[in-house]
Symmetry: C2
Subunit: 253 residues, 2 copies
Amino acid sequence: MKTISIINLKGGVAKTISATNIAHILAVVHNKRVLLVDNDKQGNASKMFGLHSYDKPSVAELMTTHNVNLDEIIAHTQYANLDLIPANMTLLKANLEVMLDTTRPQQTRFKTALRSVEDEYDYCIIDNAPDINISTINALVASDDILIPIKIDKFAFDGLAELKEQIENTKEDLNPGLCLRGCLVTCYQRNEVNKQGEEWLKTQTEYPVFNTHIRRTEKVDESTFATTPIIEYSRRCGAARDYLKFVEEYLSK
Amino acid sequence: MKTISIINLKGGVAKTISATNIAHILAVVHNKRVLLVDNDKQGNASKMFGLHSYDKPSVAELMTTHNVNLDEIIAHTQYANLDLIPANMTLLKANLEVMLDTTRPQQTRFKTALRSVEDEYDYCIIDNAPDINISTINALVASDDILIPIKIDKFAFDGLAELKEQIENTKEDLNPGLCLRGCLVTCYQRNEVNKQGEEWLKTQTEYPVFNTHIRRTEKVDESTFATTPIIEYSRRCGAARDYLKFVEEYLSK
């Protein structure tokens, strides 16, 4: 099982849209067995699949339960091959609890829990909150690859330095195999700011950048209201074609 | 100086829109001297006044500098009587630094810093991140009143219990005068869900609710793109009239 963290400290850069659509495309188009982990207390990835709830266990229990049984937390989506570990606001309290619990390791809870299902899935995609907290650190420790969705605007580079430092600390201390696979330009619009911003991004050497960018279309917003993955909602729109192409680019490297 | 924290653990409930417009109305309509504190690393309140920057000190320095001089951090907006302490992504690192610094009190840094300007302002409005972290706890410790913007939807009550617990802990341990003034219904639409949700909210006794709600209009979204307070952008729209009415309701109580 290959584990990919989708992360950016900025909000509003299409993290959840990217995580849910990449997971859906890997499952439905490429026939991979995919586990999507919602690691944001806002629970938007869970809502996208109609699985946000307070009646069932969630990623909070993954964080706090010793010898957790993932089968009791994993929920099935309506798509074959695509399962989900949901999140809700209880994650906030779980994170505080983990910080106070010094009786067992705090940073390796995702890693240990996910190990128990590593033969059942080909890919695990973790959708992270725009934050550095104990559950995002757990995600980085459990991951092989990191993808950073980035929207080209005046403030696009906010927080990238902080994120990179955190990635490097995690790599050094807890997960030497962690790889920053690259930035994925999202919400791309045909204008000078986007064109120049993307060109500049590709010339710098600090952060790798994927060739494929994701175009901004209203269909994406509509698809979140319809809680339907973009290739089901509007297969011919720019963003659907871009996500399909992006997954191919990712898999080919 | 009366200090008001605008807070909700949920994102997307119009916290920043409420904080900036309430601050602007207090300053411009009611002629109060107002200090707005941006306490969210996303810096959206700072962006609303064109004051988001990495070249000038921000709320991060307020958190980490001993005997901080607020005059060096406070920025003037284009509106008379309305000043701002801006925020940017450096707040994330500042929060981590505060957590590790056990040489001075961690939770009272806002309170101590704001005391130095309490004769210069009538109101201090703090726009908080959708989180409980050391800088939101600092805001609660420094505040007299708490306002909770709330959007009536399926998940409106997510996190309210956690927030209330945090408010009560802060009150007990660090700030006995803290008052949960009430929930402010935002993004109100004329439909059955909103009508019934608001009615239910007003019948429960756990959380007080203001009479005035803020109607959802496209003008609000437009005003954020135009980075112009709503009563300047479109004084006659529903939301502008509602914010004016809300501030009157708040002041009359």
